[in-house]
């Protein structure tokens, strides 16, 4: 039987807060978010938080928690609210699909954090690595070592 589910949390926004830091944990952020949370729903996860509510309230909570560790906290929009029966693994009977992009990006985010620290510091721009003029149009060839890694990863 098809379950009838109305649109959930209409008029709200949901944001992911990712933290990749040696000194801040998702638990720290949760406590911090609860300090200013009014009318927002906060869900703590292994990587950070999900905050759902009216946009202005969510932004206020995020601005407050960003102060904890500005260069190591990353925020993005999420389409689905937490616990949505179509995405939540509690209803799907197994691991939730997705997160491949996040998994990849969390691998490079440490260099982004370093970049944010450097760019936000008062150092003159001339002391920082120069921005690259443009990216090559041609798609680079797949590195042989990388191909080998992909093959090895596929073999059980």
């Amino acid at each position: 039987m098809k379950q009838k589910i109305p649109p959930l949390y209409q008029g709200t926004v949901t944001k992911y807060v990712f933290v990749e830091s040696y000194k801040t944990t998702p638990d720290d952020l949760t406590s911090r978010a609860y300090e200013v949370s009014e009318k927002v729903m906060i869900k703590e996860t292994c990587f950070g938080l999900q905050i759902t509510g009216e946009e202005s309230e969510v932004e206020r909570a995020i601005a407050h928690i960003r102060e904890v560790d500005p260069s190591h906290i990353f925020v993005k929009d999420r389409g689905f609210p937490p616990g949505d029966p179509r995405r939540c693994r509690a209803n799907l009977g197994g691991a939730r699909p997705g997160y491949f992009g996040h998994e990849f990006e969390m691998g490079v985010v440490k260099w982004i954090s370093r970049g944010i620290e450097e760019v936000s510091s008062s150092k003159p721009d001339s002391s920082l690595p120069a921005p690259s003029p443009s990216t090559p149009e041609e798609t680079p060839f797949l590195d042989l070592q990388k191909l080998k890694q992909i093959i090895d990863a596929e073999v059980p």
């Binding site: 589910i5 109305p6 990712f18 925020v75 999420r78 689905f80 490079v108 760019v119």
Partner: protein, 155 residues
Amino acid sequence: MPRCHNVAKVFIYPATSLILSDLVARFGHKPLGTALSIRERIQTAGLDSPPLQMTPDDAKRGLRWAAVEVPSGVRGRMSLFGPLIDEAEAAVIVKHADFAFGCMGCARTDELVEFLIKQKKVPTLEVEYPSDEETGIAFVRNIKEFLQNLEVSHE
């Protein structure tokens, strides 16, 4: 922190990128990613219960951005990206992103999105994901300078 300026709508690609979404918002602009399209769909009541994030109608809506002979997978994806591109006042694109690699639907959509952005002639920044600390600093600096120099005209 961003200087006092108009907020531009900046299309990001890969449209689910956490890093791009964060940096665009951090430097004072509004990132346009897929989450916005998905949110709009699932919060709008319709015939489907619950409202679906993708319906057969989306392949028809995609006809606005892709020709009829283009596979439905590309047209369906374009129904998510197309309205964002129409709205965009600038774009930040990561070229050759490993995690954007996928089937031909993904690959052709990547090409079509880049083509449409270039055709729109909005300020566009093309970068590549960093591979070490130095390229990480250059990546952030590139994006910061691009976003700070955006001049937005709201008509």
